[in-house]
């Protein structure tokens, strides 16, 4: 990829830019204890990489041989990018000295300070960082179980589900109805279902213009709602219809055999049904009771150490991280703070005060981007909260050039954060 420096060039701040400076590398750790990280996603890969940069020896356990990102998977659904473009290998992490182990973790033992993989191997840790992501509540929508998801894909974990949904969209005749059913809060990537509606509409408008996107929502409001709805009206006319909870949007039951969705008041027989069910932390956390009987894991929000078990840190979607949304950007930001805290704790030092950012870009169309951002700090009660007076959404009255620039920056964000995760 080429390195651009648009703003710098425009502003003529720097002189002639030379090749990228090389990051300072820290010599291998002496005897800073071993850290095991579970999950090579936005949280886990970032934590592993930044621990290595701090000189800590790291084993990263991941069940797949590569990681496909949920962010930008909507561009695959919209036919803009190939699936391979959202799939990342671990060669860069290995080159930086991360010991990447392929395996599926089936239990965490906080007393023995070890994890057990399928097949029985155990790996001991001094400190464990878990960024295992979400699982679905299969019982929440009647008729929607793992088998149903093969017919009515959630596509809320990128992988085969993404490809199933894309194939269904490609096979659908012009004039068909695509239903998207977002869950209630909290869930992974709050603007994600609405970006998905946008990019599917972009595909349909181009290829199958008599078709429709029907959003059957379990909520009455959603992230960046005003910006999305203005963009939809401008770009897609009445191609996208949003049905909020209060107008009968809530999905109570599905029949995968007939592709029928039953809301509280109505039934919709559709051509493609994208059901995004309610979520909880990955069930792996239950092997150590880390969710304390709830859906998400309570933590010390400064260090991400579990309040249930010492020496186990939980971050990303699975954690209760104050008011940060469950997003890839949040997990990446949390992972760097967590890695610094773990490195400090292993060295017998006090962890430093955290600072976090979350920025979520959404593409309403390939050349139409919108965003929301916030800066987060620890407040007096020990929880993470946004800094007042900062952050917010893109202006509602921005010109097309701003939307196009934000679409470029959405792509820039993706390139940067995946490089930050995987090297």
């Amino acid at each position: 990829m080429t390195q651009k420096s648009t703003r710098r060039d425009v502003l003529k701040l720097a002189g002639a830019a030379t090749a990228a400076t090389v990051a300072p590398t820290i010599a291998t750790a002496q005897s800073a204890g071993g850290v095991v990280v579970i999950g090579a996603g936005f949280g886990g890969a970032t934590a592993a990489r930044y621990l290595r940069r701090a000189g800590v020896s790291v084993t990263l356990v991941e069940q797949n041989s590569s990681f496909s990102t949920c962010p930008f998977s909507n561009t695959v659904l919209g036919g803009i990018n190939n699936f391979s473009s959202i799939t990342h290998g671990f060669g860069g992490l290995r080159r930086e000295g991360v010991n990447v182990v392929r395996g599926r973790v089936n239990a965490v033992d906080p007393d023995a300070k070890s994890i057990t993989l399928d097949g029985g191997d155990t790996i001991a840790y001094d400190r464990l960082i878990m960024s295992p992501g979400i699982d679905f509540k299969w019982d929440a929508i009647e008729g929607y179980d793992e088998a149903a998801a093969e017919l009515m894909p959630h596509a809320w974990k990128a992988g085969s589900q993404t490809n199933i949904l894309r194939r269904q969209l490609e096979a659908m005749p012009d004039g068909g109805v695509v239903a998207i059913a977002p869950p209630g809060n909290p869930f992974r990537c709050p603007p994600g279902p609405y970006e998905r509606a946008s990019l599917i509409a972009h595909y349909l408008k181009t290829e199958k213009p008599r078709s429709k996107v029907l959003i059957l929502d379990a909520k009455d409001s959603f992230s960046k709602q005003g910006l999305f709805q203005a963009g939809w009206a401008e770009l897609y006319g009445d191609l996208i219809e949003w049905v909020p909870f209060s107008e009968g949007g809530n999905v109570a039951r599905v029949d995968p055999a007939t592709n029928t969705i039953f809301t509280d008041f109505d039934e919709h027989k559709v051509d493609v049904a994208n059901i995004i069910p309610p979520q909880r932390s990955n069930r792996l956390v239950d092997t150590a009771g880390l969710a304390d009987g709830g859906d998400w894991c309570p933590i010390n929000q400064t260090t991400f150490e579990s309040t249930i078990h010492a020496n186990i840190h939980v971050l990303g979607d699975a954690s209760i991280a104050g008011r940060m949304p469950k997003s890839g950007f949040s997990a990446n930001s949390q992972a760097k703070v967590c890695a610094a805290a773990v490195a400090a704790l292993l060295a017998g030092n006090d962890p430093a005060s955290p600072s976090f950012i979350n920025t979520c870009y959404s593409l309403v169309a390939p050349d139409y981007g919108i965003s929301v951002a916030a800066i987060y700090r620890i407040i007096e009660d020990g929880t993470i909260a946004p800094v007042a007076g900062a952050g917010g959404v893109s202006p509602s009255d921005a010109p097309a050039s701003t939307r196009a620039l934000e679409a470029d920056y959405a792509r820039g964000w993706y390139a940067s954060i995946t490089a930050d995760m995987f090297g």
């Binding site: 420096s5 701040l13 400076t21 951002a373 916030a374 900062a390």
Partner: protein, 104 residues
Amino acid sequence: MSPIKTMVAGTFGAALLALPVTLPAAADETAPANLANACAGCHGTDGISPGPTPSINEISEEDMIALLTAFKNDEAAVTMMNRIAKGYTDAEIAAIAAYFASMM
């Protein structure tokens, strides 16, 4: 050049000239690395961006302070950084600038 870029170039050029460059204040208790590492989410590890987002690794300490302060005070209008820069005190902005400068 797009209108927004032109606007930024114009506004920013003026802002840079007008802004006094302040010396870094004593760092806030938030660790500089914790402040600066969050920038990598958009600008790349150590501020080196592989894509369309601007790199920030070769901006001098003085210029970065001036830039972030101008964004914070809406003296230069861009798409994202006005919203971000408002989340930091002047001392934190100085600490971020010093952190990136230390890697040059």
